[in-house]
């Protein structure tokens, strides 16, 4: 069991005092970010990423930096549940499904139970996903070592086609939004020949659009504008969790083992295949309702209805790091931001990472176990504190968040131009969200655009412009084929529905 040995070495790295401190800092920051409107995993990590630039230069610093950032991500995943259950406001898109049963439970005075169930099942989901990462990622990485440019491009293609095929937004909007991301990524200096393109003489655009600025604007400013529309008052129930409630709820949870397993499987699958945490949570809520013997009572405050989406969302959010580490293809916007961080620190995500940066990879994986334990402890003990943050009036918290976003955008390149771009992206995020243009593929395309283009052009060079290279062997052929199938899936499902309907 080589993995176990590597993992133990990873624990040795992650268990240093400094890294443990970073873990708790990260988790607490993450929960706060998850609770605040307008800040979430993706833009929270994006804002804090520039702070790690200097940290990553010290020996072993990249591991500490990724531990801090990934723990912010776990914290944000936990934090989403608090706002959904206590305030009926999903702090994160993946906690929308948690509101269905979580909020009614809180209204019935069972907030403590709902929160305990949510946190515990989040933890279980994450744990399953980390175990999957521990044992599956070395295998995937070894397999991917053989990949050449055509294989990598077909993996990118599969990622993006999966968005079109599985998104619940209209497929052509997904396509338009994604391609806009690629176009934004193409702006600036051509990575291969060094020629300038799409800059129109602007010196600001020489380096292109930075995805961090885009993420901060799209998710941060856009979200605040949307929240504003819905009114400024947060009406929430208060909650206190004491040990009795926790233990009582834990005694009840094993009853729902089947739901937990199903939701973990759905979550892991949707996280690895770039579907993301949000669809995973809805899907697993739906599955749980269908399988449960009192499924009709879902929505009135069933504990199972909290367990299912939370387990799946956390499993998906965690397992989204598997393709990010092994293939360099992130499964969620936050994983995309983390991938961007790796690139900025000078690490090449992908199969070679597992050979060249063993300490980094296993330190990170070990920190996933520890970070989620830290997260569970923090959220169970500090819920009232975090809930109090939401009671800060919007007129105070909104401008402060805006200031944080502006600072985050500025520190990316120390440029005022980026702050203006953030405002523009914010307006775009607001309009796109209202019209159902999905933001996740847009962000992923900005992050991956250059790499996808490079692998496409390398493949084209090998084949001298012959597109059949993407079908030249069984592996690349089946990846491309699957991608094509997912791309036309919306059309197929429409046809099937038509045929059944008539």
């Amino acid at each position: 069991m080589e993995e176990i040995q590597s993992l133990m070495q990873g624990f040795a790295i992650a268990l240093s005092f400094k890294n443990l401190l970073l873990m708790f800092t990260g988790v607490i920051l993450g929960v706060i970010i998850g609770v605040l409107p307008g800040l979430g995993g993706a833009n929270g990590v994006a804002i804090l990423l520039p702070l790690t630039f200097s940290m990553a230069q010290t020996p072993g610093g990249t591991t500490s930096a990724i531990i801090l950032l990934s723990c912010i991500y776990w914290g944000a995943l936990f934090g989403g549940a608090i706002t959904s259950i206590l305030f009926n406001i999903p702090g994160e898109p993946w906690s929308v499904a948690t509101t269905f049963d979580g909020y009614p439970l809180a209204q019935n005075g069972r907030a403590g139970e709902a929160l305990t169930a949510a946190f515990t099942s989040s933890f279980v989901g994450a744990l399953v996903a980390v175990v999957v990462i521990t044992f599956l990622s070395p295998v995937v990485a070894k397999f991917a070592l053989e990949f050449g440019p055509p294989e990598f491009f077909s993996v990118y293609l599969l990622t993006f086609c999966a968005f079109v095929g599985m998104s619940k937004e209209p497929p052509f909007k997904t396509l338009a939004s994604m391609m806009l991301g690629f176009a934004l990524a193409a702006v600036g200096t051509d990575p291969v020949t060094g020629t300038l393109r799409l800059t129109f003489g602007s010196t600001h655009l020489l380096v292109g659009f930075d995805f961090l600025v885009a993420v901060i604007g799209l998710f941060g400013i856009g979200e605040i504008l949307l929240t504003l529309e819905e009114g400024l008052a947060f009406k929430g129930t208060s909650a206190r969790i004491n040990l009795r409630v926790v233990l009582d709820t834990w005694r009840e949870l094993p009853k729902y083992w089947a739901t937990s397993i199903r939701s973990s499987v759905v979550g892991c699958f949707m996280g690895i295949v770039p579907g993301g945490a949000t669809p995973a949570s809805f899907m697993s809520y739906g599955v749980a309702r269908r399988f449960s013997k009192d499924g009709e009572q879902f929505g009135t405050g069933k504990l199972e209805g909290v367990i299912a989406p939370e387990t799946a969302a956390h499993a998906a959010g965690t397992s989204a790091l598997l393709p990010m580490l092994t293939l360099g293809v992130p499964g969620s916007p936050t994983a995309a931001v983390l991938l961007g961080g790796l690139l900025i620190w000078g690490l090449q995500p992908g199969p070679l990472l597992f050979i060249e940066q063993k300490e980094f990879v296993w330190g990170l994986i070990a920190s996933m176990y520890l970070g989620n334990i830290a997260g569970l402890i923090v959220v169970l003990t500090c819920v009232p504190l975090f809930a109090a943050i939401l009671r800060i009036p919007f007129a105070v918290i909104a401008p402060v968040i805006m200031v944080i976003c502006a600072i985050g955008a500025y520190t990316v390149h120390n440029s005022m131009f980026d702050v203006w771009m953030m405002v523009v992206f914010g307006i775009a995020g607001y309009v796109f969200k209202k019209l159902g243009y999905p933001l996740a593929p847009l962000v992923l395309a900005i992050v991956l655009g250059d790499r996808a283009e490079a692998s496409f052009r390398q493949a084209m060079l090998v084949s001298q412009g012959d597109m059949t290279i993407f079908f030249s062997n069984a592996l690349v052929g089946s990846l491309t084929g699957l991608a094509m199938f997912l791309l036309v899936w919306p059309l197929l499902s429409l046809l099937i529905a038509r045929m059944r309907g008539d």
Partner: protein, 171 residues
């Protein structure tokens, strides 16, 4: 609020249809720009492989193709089904944040991020939150001081500063 003014608040600024068509047209414009510039830098096959515009050219084409569909779908929304994209009351709130934010961004370059943030937070609290002067001042100034400590002192990341910091010798 009287009934009349509440009805005014709920009037539509843009209909969903207008917004859909507008955004689809914007996407078409982006598509045209990308395709045009890609052709300018060369989108064909050179001796040493694909030219600089080769990849973006097709990206631009796909944007155009997808947004034509979106435009068509938007144009086919029947008028009675087109709900409000944004109502007057909502639009006012959104502008009440957006306009100050734009002014704030302009101010950062001029008087530095700390003073600008103080003004910005104070404006929000006083104007939208109707807070008393003393609490407004305490929160807005405290907020900027906290950020100053975190960024300039702790993380040693210099943020834009203006005349006030210069006068205080904090540069």
């Amino acid at each position: 609020m009287s009934e009349e003014s509440s009805a005014r608040e709920q009037r539509t600024v843009f209909s969903l249809k207008t917004a859909e068509i507008g955004v689809a047209l914007l996407f078409l414009a982006v598509s045209a720009i990308v395709v045009w510039d890609s052709v300018r830098v060369g989108a064909k096959w050179a001796e040493d492989g694909p030219e600089t515009g080769y990849f973006p050219f097709y990206i631009g084409l796909i944007i155009g193709f997808a947004s034509l569909f979106n435009l068509l779908r938007a144009a086919l929304i029947p008028a009675e089904k087109s709900a409000a994209f944004v109502e007057v009351g909502q639009f006012k709130l959104v502008l009440a944040v957006l306009v100050p934010t734009a002014i704030y961004t302009a101010l950062i370059g001029w008087i530095g991020i700390y003073v600008a943030s103080t003004v910005y937070v104070a404006f929000f609290m006083r104007w939208l939150g109707k807070y008393a002067w003393w609490s407004t001042a305490a929160v807005s100034i405290g907020n900027s001081v906290a950020f100053f400590l975190v960024f300039e002192i702790w993380f040693k990341i210099p943020l834009p500063k203006g005349p006030l910091e210069a006068a205080l010798g904090l540069n």
